[in-house]
Symmetry: C2
Amino acid sequence: MSARDQLTAAMAELLWERGYAATSPRDVMARAGVGQGSMYHHFGGKHDLAVEAFSAVAEEMAAASSPLDGDGSPLERMKRYLAIPRAGTRGCRVGRMTQDPQVVADPELLAVVAGAFDAMLARWERAIAEAVTAGELPASTVPADLARTLSAVLQGGYVLARAKGSQEPMDAAVRGALSLLDAAHAAARTSDPPD
Amino acid sequence: MSARDQLTAAMAELLWERGYAATSPRDVMARAGVGQGSMYHHFGGKHDLAVEAFSAVAEEMAAASSPLDGDGSPLERMKRYLAIPRAGTRGCRVGRMTQDPQVVADPELLAVVAGAFDAMLARWERAIAEAVTAGELPASTVPADLARTLSAVLQGGYVLARAKGSQEPMDAAVRGALSLLDAAHAAARTSDPPD
DNA sequence: GTCTATATGTGGATAGAC
DNA sequence: GTCTATCCACATATAGAC
C-alpha cells in the first residue's frame, strides 16, 4: 500500500472518528505511518486530502443503498433496507459531516456530502414510487416526501443513539418506521385496492 | 447585563453556530465584550462555561416540546408539534452536539444532551400512548418506538437540510411523517374501532 | 518520494497589576 | 472583578536535506 493510500485510508478513519475540524494533519500522518513530507508531496494540505478521502467514503455510502434497487416487492425492499443493522453510536460517516461548521463552510466538501445524499434519496424515491404503482402504498403518497422522511429516520436515529450512548434508540426509531409503513400498507389495501 | 451573563449568552450562541470544539475562549470573550480575566474569574475554563451555557439551552429546548402536552386530541397535538416551523439549515442546538467528538467524550456535557432528549421523548411517549387509548392510532403502536421515530424525523430533517443547504428537505421529511401518521390513523379506524 | 527542521498563528490557561 | 501580559502546546504549512 503506497504512502498516498495509507494517508487517504487514515484520513477516512479519522473523519469518521473525530470529524473534519478535529482531525489534524499530524493525527493523519501518525496513523498512516508516514512523515510530513509525504503528505505535502501528495496533497496540497489537509483540505485536499480530506476531499479525496471523503469522496471515496461518500461513494461507498451511496452504493450501500443499492438494496433499494434489488429484487422483491418494492415495499419489502424498503423495509429490508431500513432493517439493515447500523451501529448507531458510531454515527453516519456522511451525515456527521453536516454538523461540522468547517465542512458546511467548505463548498467542495459540502458538495460531496450533498451528492451522497442525492444518490441515496433518488433510490428511495424510485422504490417508493414503485410501491405506490404496485398498490403497496396509498396513491396519495408523495415519493419525494416519504424518501426524506425515511432517510431522516435513519439520520435522526444516529443522533438519538449518540445522545444516549446506546444502540437502542436507533433500533427503536427503525421499528417505529416499519410499523408506520405497515399502517400505510394497510391503508392502501383498504382504500385503494391495486386490482 | 453582568459579565457573567454576557459570557454565557455568547457561549450559547457560538455553541450553536460553530459547535463546542470549534469555539475558543477567545471567540467567546470577544463576542461577550469582556477580557480574559473576567472569564477565568467566573468560570474554571471553557468546559465549565460551556456546561453552564448549554444547560440553559437544553432546558429551553426541552420546554419547547410542551405543545405535546397541550389541549386538543393527542394525534392533533402530535401533528401540530411536528408542523412547527424549524430552520433546518441552522441545525438543532441540542442534536448538533451529538456529532461533536469532544462533546460525546465529555460525560458532563453528554449528560445535558441526553437529559434534553429524555424530556422530549417522554412527552412524545405520553402523547402517543394517549392517542392509542383514544383509538387515534392502532392498538399495536409501541409508544416508545414511535416517539423515537418521530423525534428522529426531526433530527434527521436537520441533517438533510444542512447537507443540501436548503430548508426544503426538512419540510418534506415532516410532510412525509404527517402522511404516515394519517395512514396509521386510518388503519386504526378500520381495524380497531375505538367505540 | 520521503524525511527532519523550522516558522507562524492560535488554543487554552496562568500571573499578577489595577 | 476586570484588565493586560505571558506561557506552553499544538495546528498547519514551508524549506530543504537525503
